[in-house]
Amino acid sequence: MHRELVTPRPGWQRKLDELGFDFYTLEGKAYWTEQACYVFTSDEIDELEASTEALHEICLKAVEYVVANKLWERMRIPPAWGDYIERVWRRGDPTLVGRFDLVYDGKGPPKLLEYNADTPTALFEAAVVQWHWLKDVKPDADQFNSIHEKLIEAWRGILRRLPPEALVHFARFDTQPEDLATSEYLRDTALQAGLAGKPLAVAQIGWNGRRFTDPDEMPIQVMSKLYPWEWMIRETFGAHVLGDTTAFIEPAWKLILSNKMLLPLLWEGFPSHANLLPAFDTEHPDLGGAFARKPIFGREGHNVTVVGPGVFDTAAGDYGAEGYIWQAYQPLPVLDGNHAVVGSWVIEGKAAGIGMREDERRITHNNSRFVPHYFAPGGDR
């Protein structure tokens, strides 16, 4: 794995606009950059793919463990939600998409930093935008990216479980460009799979005393939401979810996987797993003196603190009320001064592709740059 400097395409902004990708700058800084790209060997891609699927498999075992042992208090999930989560888990309510954030330098196995299992973004960039970049800039190379095809196939599987007239509502914050793009892209793939989809803002979701409704008073049967479960469960309408009249994508059992308490749980269940870092729900000698402290319900790197010999970084935020976990610190590889993290996508339990993010800081946040990647088939660089 290495970082390669490349010349941006002439008129690259126009090309991105034409794709509907209009947030290549965020808060005045570049969010998308094509002045560089990340290059992998096919063996490295194989390793990322295998590790991603192995991680997802043990994550599902962790869900079963939490449900079977009713570890709601440890997971900071209200016990009233336990029965609901167990019901949708046992029923097999479908999952569509998630993203592992991995630290990987090509020299050792990928290590799990966290699982964005509930509301992952940077999906459109990974599935579509970097693919078009590849076709323009490296047409003879390949890219670890079957996200689009796998999403459509996953929606077809969901369609088979729904009545033929089913309508999926896509709830999101319209004012957040990244959220909007992710939700609209999901809706587009659902439409391509044959489903009907209708957008709505999160604040427009209604409750008529029996069911969730949209602004036209239409009952919401299936809601693809880009709104975190840990927020929903404590808001006014949260209790109505327990009536189970609406199906959610992602389902509520994802609350176990998007929860940082998953990391100590995995380490207890699979100690010394090649793709895991030691993690604990308190400071622990096995952390080796260098750790990342993460809020149990945190987002976008907020309230993460990295501590080690000669290392300190912290990101402000409003998270942490539920407590923290401690994970052994594994530095991200630094290439040309950039800390690089691999976002590895999981669709229906299968590895589907990666998106690279980089930042000058150790802690990746929502504005960290997205950088395209490619790999040379056959293992050549």
Partner: protein
């Protein structure tokens, strides 16, 4: 009561129920009954109909299916979700 009278009464009751469910009735429920009383569709097992052929039933953004487009006259409460997000910004995980 004779069997004939019972059948007539049952027929009248059935017709009244159907009428009450029709959107045009105004005071009716405004939606086909199953849509109201069935729960989470994933709780009903696989749909009995064959899946749509890919590419042949793609709906335009914002379009709806016939049954689902029937609105109810009741007014829902809104704003019960979104409070945390409006304070915290993006609700996605990038």
């Amino acid at each position: 009561m004779s069997r004939g009278i019972k059948l007539v009464l049952m027929g009248v009751a059935g017709a009244a129920l159907l009428y009450s469910c029709a959107p045009a009735a105004g005071g009716g429920m405004g939606l086909l009954p199953w849509l109201w009383f069935l729960g989470n569709p994933f709780g009903r097992g696989p749909a009995v109909t064959a899946p749509a052929t890919p590419g042949t039933t793609t709906a335009a953004p914002g379009t709806t299916t016939p049954d689902a487009s029937k609105a109810t006259p009741s007014q829902s409460q809104r704003g019960g979700f979104g409070g945390t997000g409006s304070q915290s910004g993006s609700s996605g995980s990038s």
